[in-house]
Symmetry: C2
Subunit: 249 residues, 2 copies
């Protein structure tokens, strides 16, 4: 088992995807929101790479009843039912509903790795559940950080490091690339400052995305997304849709 | 003062160079070798981006007496006087000599940032000397890691983190990008394990480049390059050549 990390979805080499397990991370906020929606009973989420694609899917009779959610460059999308705040998805009103979901970086990352062996949706919220599932597999793992418009995102790297650290601590026989080893060190360094229960909110607030969200009035989202392991749902992306696989906690 | 890091020379955006101080890092081994050569009294080093360019420079009457040094993909270059092991450059036999130097990643990085305001050559060996000099400037800093054939190099990121950590600890008013902040955390995490005097050899041995050097019989190079602050020379790259600026220790 080898563990590697890609820092942005733009850097994903499609030839390196095949046969691997891809862990997709967009901590602020797309994967945190997807995990929350699935945990709240959302029956199915269809990631769309653009607003146009989301609207086209909605016109399909199969998805006609589905809600539209997401954001474009951090902004709410006109005529969409829901935005990209995980707190909008945090209770039971979504139970049994389907969702078409479009964001700037996260959903594009998911679509890009769709030909991998398995694609699991990950954030700090469900990190240990993801580690437990990965530990039960014997496949090479590629952790795909969404990044932000082609740039490094600290919060995605932190979550990636949490996954690498969790796997190596379980004494599973695995090799890590230099970048994966770096991420594990970075996570461990910050875990010492994260308190108990683990909260990385103060670190997330100092990131580019964290500052942007603070300015836009989404401090509660940062606090929520900074919590490690409060959910144990495992959303998988398969055949174009995201569904819960199991609750392993 | 803002501090940013570029992970590979392939990722350098030439538009972002102008007006900035560039810190060029190729810890294993080009910048460690350059720093050592300058410290040993080498009068001038001319970085060449290829063997062909090195040989062409050597034909120039100005550089006819200069020694040829460097490597190609980790191998010694036929008919070159010296390789890319810093230990070959570690004593006085270079005193007063000029050097034409070509390596796979390091010298290309130097050439790429030549239009920056200033270009300083950095490795763990002279890290604190570089920090002291940077602290005396009030300019934006771009730390350019050479990387390895377009891939992330842990040892360059570690050295970059040493620079960021050193600057922020001096309470200099500066901002750090997400990647620069990450590097500082990574460095601090590993500094706790590095002993006194600081030696990062064991960490360097587990990197891709470290393993390659171990296999090729260069363990002593890794041990040497893993030492922080044993030299205080400050080589600057200006008008196509590298010369010592001052000894600030």
């Amino acid at each position: 088992m080898n563990i590697d990390i890609i820092l942005t979805h733009e850097a994903i080499d499609l030839r390196k995807i095949r046969g691997k397990i891809c862990v997709v991370i967009d901590t602020l906020r797309a994967t945190s929101t997807i995990i929350t929606a699935v945990n709240s009973g959302c029956s199915e989420i269809i990631p769309a790479s653009s607003i146009t694609e989301a609207l086209r899917l909605k016109e399909n009779i199969l998805y006609n009843e589905y809600l539209l959610g997401g954001e474009i460059e951090g902004q709410h999308i006109q005529n969409f039912h829901l935005g990209n705040s995980p707190l909008e998805y945090y209770n039971g009103h979504l139970r049994g509903n389907g969702l078409i979901f479009s964001t700037t970086n996260g959903t594009r990352t998911l679509q890009k790795v769709r030909k991998a062996r398995s694609v699991v949706v990950c954030a700090l919220l469900n990190a240990t559940a993801v580690v437990k599932w990965l530990a039960s597999q014997s496949k090479d793992i590629l952790i795909c950080c969404a990044g932000t418009r082609g740039n490094y995102s600290l919060e995605d790297f932190l979550t990636a490091g949490c996954i690498v650290s969790g796997l190596t601590q379980r004494k599973i026989i695995c090799t890590t690339t230099d970048i994966a080893y770096t991420a594990a060190c970075f996570y461990r360094h910050n875990k010492l400052l994260a308190g108990n229960p683990l909260s990385f909110a103060s670190l997330l607030k100092r990131t580019i995305n964290g500052k942007r969200l603070l300015e836009a009035g989404f401090e509660e989202d940062i606090i929520y997304c900074g919590q490690q392991d409060i959910l144990s749902v495992l959303p998988f992306y398969k055949n174009g849709t995201i569904k819960a696989f199991a609750n392993l906690r």
